[in-house]
């Protein structure tokens, strides 16, 4: 009995530890390919399908910015986009590109975007 408890606790601890290690892997930071500047406007491209990519974007603060979220046969949660700070919510078309303008005054700090159920997310770090 005690042995069984011990084995059970060990396996459980291992699984919990494993899950955290698994879910907590650092996200790939991408700022070069996702951010471009056209006519003084900062463009950020994020693709949405089975999550958002890139997950972390480094961008310039205080610049009028357009966030372009593109979907391609996206039927999962990432098609229902929510940006709490901008009070933005939209169900994106399965295939298409959505442009969201972020004013210069809003382009500061960290902007979190996530899907309607919260499983997928991305962040834009304005610095």
């Amino acid at each position: 009995m005690n042995k069984a408890v011990l084995v059970s606790v060990c396996i459980s601890a291992l699984l919990i530890f494993g899950a955290f290690w698994f879910a907590g892997k650092p996200a790939n930071v991408d700022s070069s390919s996702a951010v471009s500047t056209v006519n003084g406007k900062q463009l950020i491209d994020i693709s949405a399908k089975g999550g958002y990519s890139p997950r972390v974007v480094l961008a310039k603060a205080g610049v009028p910015t357009v966030l372009r979220v593109s979907t391609k046969g996206t039927f999962d949660c990432s098609s229902s986009l929510v940006i709490p700070k901008l009070q933005y919510q939209k169900y994106l078309q399965p295939t298409g590109t959505e442009e969201i303008s972020i004013g210069a005054s809003q382009a500061r700090g960290t902007l979190h975007g996530l899907c309607g159920m919260g499983m997928y997310n991305f962040q834009i770090k304005f610095q």
């Binding site: 009995m1 059970s8 899950a19 698994f22 996200a27 399908k49 999962d76 949660c77 919260g118």
Partner: protein
């Protein structure tokens, strides 16, 4: 109580009404005490009966012959079919804490498996962007093992395990699934015709997400069957849910499981919502209806496995382990959904990344 036979305990000769306190094993719901009271009061020799969910006791006043053990046995016969046992002693939880030895690792394996599935990038299997009924079916299949599982599957598991635990039958589960399929057909058709989504707004979505998470949390804690405070919590749950869905299982409540099935159309599940978005572009009742039905059919295998599986296991000797495993999984999913709802509301930063 007459004093003449006080020394011989409860064995009285006849006539004088006596008060007995018995323990009730198997009381789970807010409607249980009422049912027990009503059943006992029908006996001619019982003057009054008061059952309490909080301490799992029933106090009966009446005229009895025979030993208290005998009385408990007689009373048990009356309510046995509802799953209650009347006894003198508080019945020990025969399948109690030691079930966790198995339940905890099993539950964790399932949870880690769920996380791994999310990382596996199943959604990339969907390559076409125009939706045939076949695609809708495949999307349903994928949805049923993806993030939707956390909310729809979690709810189905918690409701069906609770229902099975309370003695519910296959009928409840079947009605739920028929309600879901029928609801998706009709509502899918409606959004196809009116070309307008029945999406809930962001706030409604968050509120709904939180409510579903809380219901799952309470049902999950009840499935664990170790904390008595949760039984009292259930009283605060909407009456229609505690009474009709969880318990009404056995009797003539056809409507509740059907309504819950239809209601899953509105649950915050990304897949469901994007399918709805597609259905409304079809502009026809039949196309919208069939698309949504194909999607719902795709989700059916996994959901049916969850609900009929719970029902089947509820009669196996290791059901104690199953209910505790289900309880842990449901609680974990409830907390997951709760954290996600708060993150969506912008209250906390997202905790999970897939």
């Amino acid at each position: 109580m007459s004093s003449t036979d006080a020394d011989v305990g409860l064995i009285g000769p006849k006539s004088d009404p006596k008060i007995y306190t018995f323990h009730v094993h198997g009381m789970h719901c807010s409607a249980c005490p009422l049912l027990i009271e009503e059943t006992f009061k029908e006996l001619p020799n019982i003057a009054s009966a008061r059952a309490s969910l909080a301490n799992h006791q029933v106090i009966v006043t009446g005229e009895f012959a025979g030993s208290p053990e005998k009385i408990a046995e007689e009373l048990t016969k009356l309510v046995k079919s509802h799953g209650y046992t009347i006894s003198l002693e508080r019945m020990k939880k025969d399948a109690g804490w030691k079930d966790f030895v198995y339940a905890l690792p099993i539950a964790l394996v399932v949870i880690v498996g769920f996380l791994a599935l999310q990382k596996a990038g199943l959604t990339n299997l969907i390559t076409s962007s125009n939706v045939s009924y076949g695609t809708a079916f495949v999307i349903g299949l994928i949805a049923s093992v993806s993030t939707c599982l956390a909310i729809v599957g979690g709810l189905v598991l918690s409701l069906s395990a609770s229902s099975a635990k309370e003695g519910g039958t296959w009928r409840t589960q079947t009605l739920f699934h028929l309600g879901r399929l029928g609801g998706f057909f009709v509502l899918g058709g409606i959004i196809g015709v009116i070309g307008n989504s029945l999406h809930l707004g962001l706030t409604a979505n968050i509120v709904l997400g939180i409510i579903v998470a809380l219901v799952m949390l309470i049902l999950g804690i009840n499935l664990l069957d170790v904390f008595h405070f949760a039984k009292r919590l259930q009283l605060t749950m909407p009456k229609w849910l505690s009474k009709h869905v969880v318990r009404g299982a056995k009797h003539d409540h056809f409507l509740a499981p059907v309504l819950v099935g239809i209601g899953t159309f509105f649950l915050p599940c990304g897949f469901t919502q994007s399918m709805q978005l597609y259905a409304l572009t079809t502009g026809s009742f039949l196309e919208g209806a069939l698309t949504m039905t194909a999607f719902a059919l795709g989700t059916l295998p996994v959901l049916a496995l969850l609900s009929f599986g719970s029902l089947n296991i509820a009669h196996k000797p290791w059901k104690g382990i199953f209910f505790k495993t289900a309880g842990i999984i449901v609680i974990a999913l409830a907390l997951f959904n709760l954290a996600n709802a708060f993150a969506t509301a912008g209250i906390i930063n997202p905790l999970f990344n897939f």
